[in-house]
């Protein structure tokens, strides 16, 4: 396999852009990424386009990528449309990475774009429920509530087992809202306090409104090339993809002691990159609901079970800490335009590794980083898709 580098990234700000169609969200991301890489549209050999909801929300079920990319000048090449719920963008990145690693292409474009605000949030929430197995959503399963009770996380039982309080559940959102307040691309830019998070409206006991990521529009893109060709396009430091892993969820019966898929996908990414959790300098992870960050600390090997709140109390994962997590503000603050999120995570890590993150820059500049993205919900006990990418420079 050839070594692959990310040589350019770009993103559209995340937020509510009612007047903008999907294309107009995607173009700034694509053009900024090409410009950042020193690559022209004609240099791109293959493109992967990640999106989850356009079929249901706009009716554009087919050829989503071609419809967007033709007006960006990306035509006459293989364009592959990728849908993998909230992990769509990381799945697109993996496709682009494989094209180059295998030698099939020299330059590849990965795009993730999502338009969720359509003026009717009930319709958006209805579309999101199609990111879980329909047998569940038809039966009345509410997506947010599953974070409270689904066996893969079951926050309520964790509160009992570890003595976590409502304040503990809010801590990732406090940290991430501060990070997001420093990010000009973020959807929510006001730092939040534990009190206002805990006291905000209950969505599904014990999850409150400000612990949840919100409906969001946005887009992100990355240009990848064979590492030994990077200098042909740009004098900037190439960011190497040390591993790029995708796993589907596993059906498990109660009592199945095998590690869950968030754990196994991270382990595979560590193994392929030849590193362990102690080697990471920064992480962007999938905090669709704030307490999920506490659970993911365990699954990514950052702490023992139950110790997540302590990592925040002791400032281990804050911007100035040993291993900052979600410097962008994460899904709750930066925003979660579902099919764009994985590449928004990658953009943030590339900016951090290059030292271009402005007031939220991690010092010293991170050299080894991880993006963890997941999506969808199955009848079993896992999410549907887990994507993990480790970057090195």
């Amino acid at each position: 396999m050839r070594e692959v580098a990310i040589i350019g990234v770009g993103a559209h700000p995340t937020g509510r852009f009612l007047e903008k169609p999907l294309k107009e969200l995607a173009y700034p991301a694509i053009w900024n990424a090409l410009d950042d890489a020193g690559v022209s549209a004609a240099d791109v050999n293959v493109a992967y386009f990640g999106n989850s909801l356009a079929g249901l929300l706009t009716g554009q079920e087919g050829i989503r990528g071609q419809v967007v990319l033709q007006h960006a000048g990306i035509t006459g090449i293989p364009i592959i449309n990728v849908e993998n719920a909230c992990a769509s963008a990381m799945t697109a990145l993996r496709g682009a990475w494989l094209e180059i690693a295998s030698g099939a292409a020299d330059v590849a474009l990965a795009v993730g774009a999502e338009k969720m605000n359509v003026g009717d949030s009930a319709r958006t929430i209805g579309a999101l429920s199609a990111d879980s197995e329909l047998d569940l959503s038809d039966m009345g399963m509410q997506f947010t509530a599953t974070y409270a009770i689904h066996p893969k996380i079951n926050i309520k039982s964790r509160m009992q087992e570890y003595g976590w309080t409502a304040a503990d559940l809010a801590k990732p959102a406090v940290k991430n809202s501060y990070n997001g307040s420093l990010n000009p691309l973020a959807q929510h830019r006001r730092p939040l306090t534990i009190e206002e998070i805990v006291q905000s409206r209950l969505i599904a006991d014990p999850l409150t409104l400000l612990m949840c990521s919100s409906i969001s529009d946005g887009a992100a893109a990355a240009v990848l090339c064979a590492a030994d060709l990077a200098q042909r396009f740009t004098s900037r430091m190439p960011i190497r993809i040390a591993s790029c892993v995708l796993q589907s969820g596993v059906y498990r019966l109660p009592g199945d002691e095998r590690p869950d898929s968030a754990t196994t996908s991270a382990s595979e990414a560590y193994k392929n990159a030849g590193i362990g959790p102690d080697d990471l300098d920064a992480i962007e992870l999938h905090d669709a609901m704030a307490p999920a960050e506490l659970m993911l600390y365990e699954r990514l090997g950052l702490c023992a079970p139950g110790e997540g709140p302590r990592l925040i109390d002791e400032h281990v994962t804050t911007l100035g800490g040993r291993i900052p997590v979600n410097p962008s503000g994460g899904l709750c603050s930066r925003g979660h335009p579902v099919g764009a999120t994985g590449l928004l995570q990658i953009c943030e890590l590339v900016w951090q590794m290059r030292g271009e993150a402005g007031p939220r820059q991690i010092e010293p500049r991170p050299k080894v980083t991880m993006a963890q993205n997941q999506g969808g919900l199955l009848l079993g006990q896992d999410s549907a898709a887990y994507g993990v990418t480790i970057l090195k420079c």
Binding site: A122, I125, G126, S129, L136, S137, D138, M139, G140, M141, Q142, T144, A145, T146, A148, I149, H150, P151, N154, K156, S157, R201, L202, I203, A204, D205, P206, L253, P254, L379, Q381
Partner: protein, 94 residues
Amino acid sequence: MEEIEIGRTAKLYSHTIAYVAPKGFTAPYFQAFVDLPEGPRIFSLVGSECPVERGVLEDGMEMRLIVEPVADTPERRDELTYKYLPVKHNGSGR
């Protein structure tokens, strides 16, 4: 292939009250996972005769199978599904 009956009883694995409901359902309503004696852990709603209040359900409690409309809304009233009810519950009932 042989047809077998499962899940006449269950044990409550986890539950919450959802205060936001998808179209066709009315909030607040219980969401739950139950463990069937035959092995599977499944998602289930809780029967409508159980009052939706904190403290009524307790994880680990014994549940029994019922069949009733998915929801008491015009969209879903004619559709039957399985749900579980506590064998004994702490609430006031209605």
